[in-house]
């Protein structure tokens, strides 16, 4: 007996495709919340004058923070919140439950500071099906590139979501 695959032809066809670009704002309050949650005490994440004294344009993003997508009620956000990721629509994908599978951040030597407005573009990197402790699971891997106002690539976030 063959069980039906969770991966539809439409999903397969979406591998390699990009979603709509998103505008990402990097703001001071969000940086501070993030830094406080993690437990940083370095003032470079909190105090603009101090960050400037260290040669930065403003307070800087801690590792793993790239700002938030601009949300409006007209712009449906996913169930996760205002993430920098926006993959293209995957036909037949029903997200009932999701956990995070993996995360990677890559940087290219550019400061990312409060006040920056970035553009993010998310590509579907891969879709895999596995069976594990949570039953039948779909592994959705995406790659999100973030560009600064000059169009320069400043960071890449790679994520794997486990949908079950």
């Amino acid at each position: 007996m063959t069980e039906e695959s969770l991966i539809t032809d439409g999903m397969r066809a979406a591998i390699g495709k990009e979603g709509e670009p998103q505008t990402i704002e990097v703001d001071k309050t969000a940086i501070r919340w993030f830094a406080r949650a993690v437990g940083y005490t370095d003032l470079v994440f909190y105090d603009e004058a101090y960050a400037k004294s260290k040669g930065h344009r403003s307070i800087i993003c801690p590792p793993g923070f790239l700002g938030h997508a601009v949300h409006t009620p007209l712009n449906p956000s996913d169930i996760i919140g205002n993430s920098v990721r926006r993959p293209p629509t995957l036909p037949g994908l029903e997200i009932r439950r999701i956990v995070n599978g993996a995360t990677e951040f890559e940087y290219y030597g550019e400061d990312i500071c409060a006040g920056d407005v970035l553009k993010s573009i998310t590509r579907v990197a891969d879709i895999q099906e596995k069976t594990g402790t949570l039953g039948k699971m779909l592994f959705l891997s995406t790659e999100t590139h973030l560009y600064n106002a000059e169009g320069k690539l400043v960071a890449t976030e790679r994520d794997t979501g486990i949908i079950y």
């Binding site: 969000a30 919340w33 993030f34 830094a35 406080r36 949650a37 993690v38 437990g39 940083y40 370095d42 260290k54 801690p62 590792p63 793993g64 923070f65 938030h68 997508a69 169930i79 996760i80 919140g81 205002n82 993430s83 439950r97 999701i98 956990v99 995070n100 599978g101 993996a102 995360t103 990677e104 951040f105 890559e106 940087y107 030597g109 949570l134 790679r158 794997t160 079950y164």
Partner: protein, 142 residues
């Protein structure tokens, strides 16, 4: 402020200073605010249980950010994180130690950059690795 670490000072096999975290549920909510991840399995017990989970779990990306903090605090002002990642193999829950660790696996000079590669991971107090990953940092040279 920690003393600056230099490329010449580190060797393959060295362990970097570990970082021990232990998050309260309040810290998970602060993380939700900071990261923008509002998924209820990280603050709503009933929702977590209905999702087949043992209870509220720590955000995977939060553990990745702890690993980022460990790296940031090790490399000093003149260091630079190029890349860091981890996979979420097992769940962590609030109010239990999450121990972040890293071991140097390679050193390579790439043009102007002095790169150091590491295996990084989080583990529980009993030693079970919950989030294994990799990192590349650039360190200053003497």
């Amino acid at each position: 402020m920690v003393e600056q670490v230099y490329y010449e000072d580190v060797n393959v096999g060295d362990e970097i200073p570990k970082l021990v975290k232990n998050c309260s549920t309040q810290q998970l909510v602060m993380w939700a605010t900071g990261s923008g991840d509002m998924y209820p399995i990280h603050y709503d017990k009933d929702f977590a249980a209905a999702s087949g989970l043992p209870g509220i779990i720590v955000h995977g990306a939060f553990k990745n950010a702890f690993l980022g903090q460990m790296l940031y605090e090790w490399i000093g002002e003149k260091g630079e994180i190029k890349k860091f990642s981890c996979q979420y193999r097992a769940m962590d829950v609030p109010s239990q130690d999450i121990i972040c660790r890293g071991v140097i696996t390679n050193k390579v000079r790439d043009g102007e950059l002095n790169l150091v590669e590491l295996d990084i991971w989080t583990e529980k107090a009993g030693g079970e690795k919950t989030s294994p990953g990799k990192a590349t940092v650039a360190l200053p040279s003497h």
